[in-house]
């Protein structure tokens, strides 16, 4: 009998963990960040994808998913249509309007964009968490910036993105064991990476005996232990997220490699509802005239930004 109740308790705890409520304002802010990054990714961060437009179709080697669906061989027309459609729908989706319709459209277009990107002989590993964000956001309805109302559906969506972020680290350590074995720790992977891609920031490290071997132990250690983030109190969780961002900054300075989409997806760990640049700007321009008190259940969270009236639902 106690076995059953323990099992029930564990089951309930698991269900609750997967759907821990978050403020709708956090969903709104995350949504804006994710969809704006889609546009930034196309126009700035990953412009080489569009360059595939000039590569003849016989060099297109579709991924498994591209063979199953089956998706067309990219032509200049298809690539241009996808490109502009993503920019327009990405910008519209960033406003938070028609979240399901625009969200699913952006997801479908961006996923096809990724399949085109990775079907010419090289698959990148920097955006699984970002794809997860694009896949879960359309399951959520309208969310307004600054809205404190808690949502379990939103909590589930952010939880899935968090899981994908941490899986990117944890499974990367696992893959090192799969492909290289325990020898990876004492091998020359980092040395060779610095020799191939090193910068002023990192080139000296190959001169220091044992330093890059130590770095390899540290990397695998951090990757394997990254799931502890799910057991930390917010304060420590934010410090760990800061550590993750620092790790990527050091990687960028050392090897000029940055997982930009992953870095955007990782925002899901932060209390984004407090970041409200538009409300802040509005407050600046209106000289605080709109900053009057709201009914108590519509008060925004403590923040230096003035309040924006919430539309009653």
């Amino acid at each position: 009998m106690t076995g059953v109740s323990v099992r029930q308790k564990v089951g309930t705890a698991v269900l609750k963990w997967f759907t821990e409520p978050v403020p709708k304002g956090r969903i709104a802010a995350f949504r804006t960040a994710v969809y704006l990054f889609v546009v930034a990714d196309l126009t700035y961060f990953t412009t080489w994808i569009r360059d595939h437009v000039d590569v003849p179709g016989n060099l297109y080697q579709p991924l498994f998913i591209g063979r199953v669906l089956p998706l067309p061989v990219p032509t200049p027309g298809l690539v241009s249509v996808l490109y502009w459609a993503l920019i327009v729908t990405g910008l519209l989706a960033a406003t938070g309007r028609l979240p399901r319709l625009l969200g699913w459209t952006v997801f479908a277009l961006y996923f096809e964009w990724m399949i085109i990107a990775m079907s010419y002989g090289k698959v990148d590993h920097d955006r699984v968490a970002f794809l997860m964000a694009l896949a879960v956001l359309p399951t959520l309805g309208r969310a307004r910036h600054g809205d404190r109302t808690l949502t379990e559906a939103g909590g589930w969506a952010l939880r899935l993105v968090q899981i994908a972020v941490i899986a990117t680290y944890f499974l990367a350590a696992w893959a090192k064991l799969r492909y290289a074995g325990i020898d990876w720790l004492t091998g020359a992977t980092m040395t060779r990476a610095v020799l191939r891609r090193g910068t002023w920031f990192s080139s000296w490290t190959v001169e220091v005996p044992g330093l890059l071997i130590f770095a390899q132990f540290a990397i695998v250690g951090f990757e394997l232990f990254s799931p502890i983030i799910f057991f930390l109190k917010p304060r420590w969780r934010y410090w760990l997220v800061a550590y993750f961002y620092t790790f990527h900054l050091v990687t960028y300075l050392s090897l000029t490699i940055a997982f930009w989409p992953h870095l955007v997806a990782m925002l899901c760990f932060l209390p984004l509802e407090r970041v409200r640049p538009i409300a802040w700007l509005r407050g600046q321009f209106s000289g605080g005239r709109q900053g009057g008190p709201l009914p108590s259940d519509q008060q925004p969270p403590p923040s230096p930004t003035p309040a924006e009236p919430r539309r009653s639902s």
Binding site: L15, F18, T19, L59, R100, K122, A172, R178, A180, D297
Partner: protein, 182 residues
């Protein structure tokens, strides 16, 4: 009579359901209310989460890059002995003017890693390199035509984990405009 359904109900139907109406926390006005999931909505979501996690783990252990987005996270997952030469894959081209230069992502739209990924195909069928020439001609329409492309792997030698500055080159594949040969 003309309003059989209320607006919020329509809104809920349009938005796809899955959630119960918001529950107002009556006891404490300072606390934000919580929109709870129905039992079904919660069960389905947790099941989806577990399936996705399962696919990620299975893909990581048994999948390949081909299974994107559920392939292995194999960035920097290989290892080599310290002093094994470092490969540097280069695509050299010669045009009708006799100029010799490198084909890169900038002038073909094809990444170096993609050249490396498709080397087995190029080896088996050097005529495929004509497609790289075509890509170059599309991006540089005013430049002289290419007559020869070679994929060369330059092996940089190391000593004590330092580049010695010496290298050896291996020509992997050759294509000429008159007809491919190896």
């Amino acid at each position: 009579m003309n309003q059989p359904v209320t607006a919020p109900v329509v809104a809920r139907l349009v938005s796809g359901g899955g959630t119960l109406p918001p529950v107002q926390n009556e006891t404490d006005d300072a606390q934000p209310r919580t929109e709870r999931l129905s039992r079904t909505g919660r069960t389905i979501r947790v099941a989806v989460a577990l399936i996705i996690m399962g696919l990620m783990v299975v893909g990581n252990q048994w999948g390949e890059d081909d299974h994107f987005p559920f392939g292995p996270f194999k960035m920097y997952s290989s290892t080599d002995p310290l002093n094994k030469p470092v490969p540097d894959t280069r695509v050299h081209a010669i045009n009708t003017e006799g100029e010799r230069f490198r084909l890169t992502m900038a002038n073909t739209g094809f990444r170096r890693a993609e050249v490396e990924g498709q080397i087995p195909r190029f080896r088996a069928n050097p005529e495929l390199l004509k497609s790289l020439a075509d890509a170059y001609h599309r991006r540089r329409p005013t430049r002289p035509k290419l007559v020869r492309i070679e994929i060369v792997i330059r092996w940089w030698h190391l000593d004590g984990a330092r580049a010695t500055g010496e290298y050896t080159e291996e020509t992997e594949v050759i294509w000429t405009a008159d007809g491919a040969d190896r």
